[in-house]
Point group: C2
DNA sequence: GAAGATTGACGATTCAATCTTC
DNA sequence: GAAGATTGAATCGTCAATCTTC
């Protein structure tokens, strides 16, 4: 499994490019996260949006959601479409600004979010147990070093 | 920026969930990778496919590519569609098995792959310089521990 | 004119169904 | 029937218009 972009096939056992191993590990981890969430009928995107709404005191404007998810507004429009189709969220008008539309989490949405959070916590526990405390600290250090 | 799925808003400064910080860092890193590659008109998926083809001695069957990229066959079908539209790859028939279709990288494709690899190597160098040798070792250890 | 949301298009990925060839 | 590839539909993300409202 030599996936380096420069490998020619002959020179084996290279320096093990850390960049791609990190990307690869993250991808595998995300797959496990999605698998966990699919047990309760959620995707990562849906769970993330529900969590934002569950933690907010009041219904959030879609642009507010886009900011918190750090994604583009049109993405939220379509995500809320799907969440609404699932009955997990409701669109409500904002009386103070008729341009704005707010997303309100439904009781079913709250329930689903809790179920998802439980699965996610399980995975987080596994994660913490798989890595030594020392390495976790190094990992934290390395990741913050990357996020200039 | 408290993105934990369980945070209620009141209890601040939690244990800093490593799982999500890793996922977040990987996402940021991938964005930088895509940005680098877009300088030469490539996406990550296209570059990856071109690299596989560039390192192969002969044109590869699409199913072979799917295996090496560990993705589904239909994904490759469409990716090769786009690569072919860009003139970076050509579909060639397999004389020995008329079911099979092989992807051949074009001279332009080779050129583009080399340009992409150069940008990727730059990023890899940055990556290596940003993280201490010790932490790189810990990172490697942590990531292999995750990939059971 | 700028802000909020939507729409349409495209990239990347998956799945299920289909067609051709073995 | 099984293998190779394609097609159609779905999710998730981006960007470039567009429409309504401020």
């Amino acid at each position: 499994m030599n996936n380096s972009p420069t490998s020619k096939g002959g020179t084996a056992a290279p320096v093990e490019t850390s960049l791609f191993s990190l990307l690869h590990a993250a991808k595998a981890l995300e797959e496990r996260l999605e698998a966990k969430l699919s047990e309760v009928g959620l995707s990562g995107a849906k769970f993330s949006a529900l969590t934002v709404l569950a933690n907010a005191a009041d219904p959030l404007a879609l642009s507010e959601m886009a900011e918190r998810q750090s994604c583009v507004r049109s993405n939220i429009t379509q995500l809320v479409d799907r969440l609404e189709a699932d009955g997990l969220v409701r669109r409500v008008a904002d009386p103070t600004d008729r341009r704005s539309i707010r997303a309100a989490i439904t009781p079913l949405g709250r329930e689903r979010q809790r179920a998802g959070a439980k699965r996610v916590n399980e995975l987080q526990r596994e994660f913490a147990e798989a890595i030594s405390a020392q390495d976790q600290q190094a990992l934290r250090r390395a990741l913050t070093a990357l996020g200039d």
